[in-house]
């Protein structure tokens, strides 16, 4: 059996968990094993049902008085107990911040190897994996020798796809926890902005060094607001202090996957590209038609972004009436 650990937030499976189930469906078939899933801290019917839509036959639910919120030790401890008593042939989760954290925590408890951010996995006596290095600029072929392979699939390595719909059975998992797991639990949450955020925005308007100044981002903000999107930026821009780090798209920032990424004044260094490459479409605005970002884009406008963006804003406004 392949066990997929599901990440959830606000009573919903996160997109990365849906990706992991999709990746897991293919992997379980290669293994010739059933696909099962695990929910930690919740046992809601609609979460179980959602996992079933992606092909999970059974969903193991672990609830406990101490599982009041997310914490790497709480999750790691539950996963380690599931490995010991459910005897899965492999355990998979998503390569999100949390997914990699709790899988590494479980691996440390089990003194077992853990392979992060796989784009492909082939079972065998020795597993053969392909995994992300340099945020996706390079791939590594690696072998994994383990009693129970533990792995995550890279963020956006596959697109989430419903399939082989199963009427998943929920099975309660008896978990044994002590107070120590609460030490690393979330103590408080601060919401700074409601509504559309960079990782989920359908439109991202990105700016690089070519924007020229902190104030220069005003036009990008205006366009993003008109399109219900968000402003992103390159690492050069956060290093210059023009934008907060939370706006950075790239290997050390946010991975975006919008319907369209409008990259303006961005040359497309590899560190930025790996954060933007999951965008469904890219439109580049740049004075240099040889810029990396232009050659990798679906569409490009050659010119000064401070002329092009106001013209786009005017055109959008006139069409919207």
């Amino acid at each position: 059996m392949l066990l997929v650990i599901l990440e959830h937030e606000n009573g919903q499976l996160v997109e990365a968990a849906r990706e992991a189930l999709t990746f897991g469906r293919v992997l379980a078939e290669k293994m010739g094993e059933d696909l099962e899933a695990a929910l930690i801290g919740r046992d809601d019917d609609d979460l179980v049902e959602a996992a079933g839509q992606y092909g999970a036959e059974t969903v193991h639910t672990a609830t406990h008085d101490l599982l009041t919120d997310y914490g790497p030790d709480a999750y790691g401890s539950v996963i380690a107990q599931m490995v010991e008593s459910l005897d899965p042939d492999a355990v998979l989760s998503c390569g999100s911040d949390r997914g990699n954290e709790f899988m590494a925590n479980a691996a440390a408890r089990l003194d077992a190897p853990f392979v992060a951010n796989c784009t492909d996995a082939n079972p065998g006596d020795t597993w053969e994996m392909t995994r992300v290095q340099w945020g996706g600029s390079l791939l590594e072929d690696a072998t994994l020798t383990a009693d129970v392979p533990l792995l995550t699939c890279g963020l956006h390595a596959v697109a989430a796809e419903i399939g082989d719909e199963e009427d998943a059975d929920a099975e309660e998992f008896d978990v044994d926890l002590d107070e120590s797991v609460t030490i690393t639990m979330v103590k408080d949450r601060v919401v700074q902005e409601a509504g559309v955020t960079l990782p989920t925005a359908p439109v991202v308007v990105g700016g690089g060094r070519g924007v020229g100044s902190e104030d220069g981002f005003g036009q990008l903000e205006e366009l993003a607001a008109l399109l219900g999107g968000r402003v992103g930026c390159s690492r050069a821009v956060t290093n210059l202090g023009w934008r907060p780090h939370a706006d950075q798209v790239g290997q050390t920032g946010t991975r975006i996957a919008p319907e369209i990424y409008i990259a303006s004044g961005i040359s497309g260094a590899i560190q930025h590209w790996v954060g933007a490459m999951a965008s469904k479409h890219i439109l580049a605005i740049n004075t240099d038609k040889e810029a990396n970002m232009v050659t990798k884009a679906d569409w490009a406008v050659i010119g000064d972004l401070h002329e092009v963006i106001p013209a786009i804003i005017a055109e959008v406004q006139s069409r919207k009436g």
Partner: protein, 253 residues
């Protein structure tokens, strides 16, 4: 206060990363080397904490002798000591790396633990997402990852982790371990005084030994290039109508 930062020496790539002919490493023939970005912020964060609270920052790296460059750089921006955990390469598997670093920390600490140990959330190159976690757990200390804000009081370390649209707060007892992300701060540049200190500092060296883990490299390769036929919509402001046609077609207007 005693703080330890564990850092990794990595190539500094520009527009493209090439691989050596045998596929075992990044071809760094024409590249400089740097400290992995998350860890550069960890060092800056540690230096700011001792500037506020007093104390010492030790920087540790596992790798070949070349990695002394990154230890000396850390001293040039305010770290106090540097420790090289000598290994035959910078590319040990994550279990082996964590085991060697754990042993080195035990040797450095004796019976006086570091109040705080900081790792990068993941290394810029291998990105295994686990060396800090394995080390912390072997030492029996709590660790949380993805940290972009740190405050220390007498017995508590308060850490902030960025999430979609806000942040989470964690409160850990001392001693603890944090996986730091870039964005914690903007690292400073070395001063002349710092540069001099970095030349003079005596680096400590520890010989690493640890057993291989279950993950082994076969080869590195570049992903298939996304070949895109870029459609040029126009030049300058005149292209605006064509751009908005595209936005309309995608249904994002």
């Amino acid at each position: 206060m005693k703080i330890l930062c564990c850092v990794k020496r990595v190539p500094a790539p520009g527009a493209k990363i090439n691989v050596t002919a045998d596929g075992q490493d990044v071809d760094a023939a024409h590249l400089g080397f740097t400290t992995s970005p998350h860890e550069e912020c960890a060092v800056e964060g540690a230096v700011q904490l001792i500037e506020e609270h007093g104390g010492e920052v030790t920087v540790l790296t596992l790798g070949t002798g070349d990695a002394e460059e990154q230890l000396r750089y850390a001293v040039s921006v305010g770290a106090t000591h540097g420790v090289l955990v000598e290994a035959d390469t910078n590319q040990w598997d994550p279990q082996r790396t964590a085991q060697a670093i754990t042993a080195a920390i035990r040797e450095l600490e004796g019976d006086e633990p570091f109040d705080l140990i900081m790792f990068g959330n993941e290394s810029a190159d291998a990105g295994g997402f686990q060396v800090g976690i394995r080390t912390a757990m072997a030492l029996g200390r709590p660790i949380v990852q993805g940290i972009k804000g740190v405050e220390i009081s007498d017995d508590t370390i308060t850490a902030r982790r960025e999430i979609d649209g806000g942040f989470e707060v964690y409160e850990l007892p001392r001693p603890a371990v944090l996986g730091i992300k870039e964005g914690l701060n903007l690292p400073r540049y070395p001063t002349m005084k710092g540069r001099l200190a970095s030349k003079k500092v005596e680096l400590n060296s520890i010989t690493a030994s640890a057993a291989e883990g279950g993950q082994a490299r076969v080869k590195l390769h570049r992903p298939e290039e996304t070949v895109s036929e870029t459609v040029i919509l126009g030049t300058g402001a005149e292209a605006a109508a064509a751009v908005v046609d595209v936005l309309d077609e995608l249904g994002v207007l």
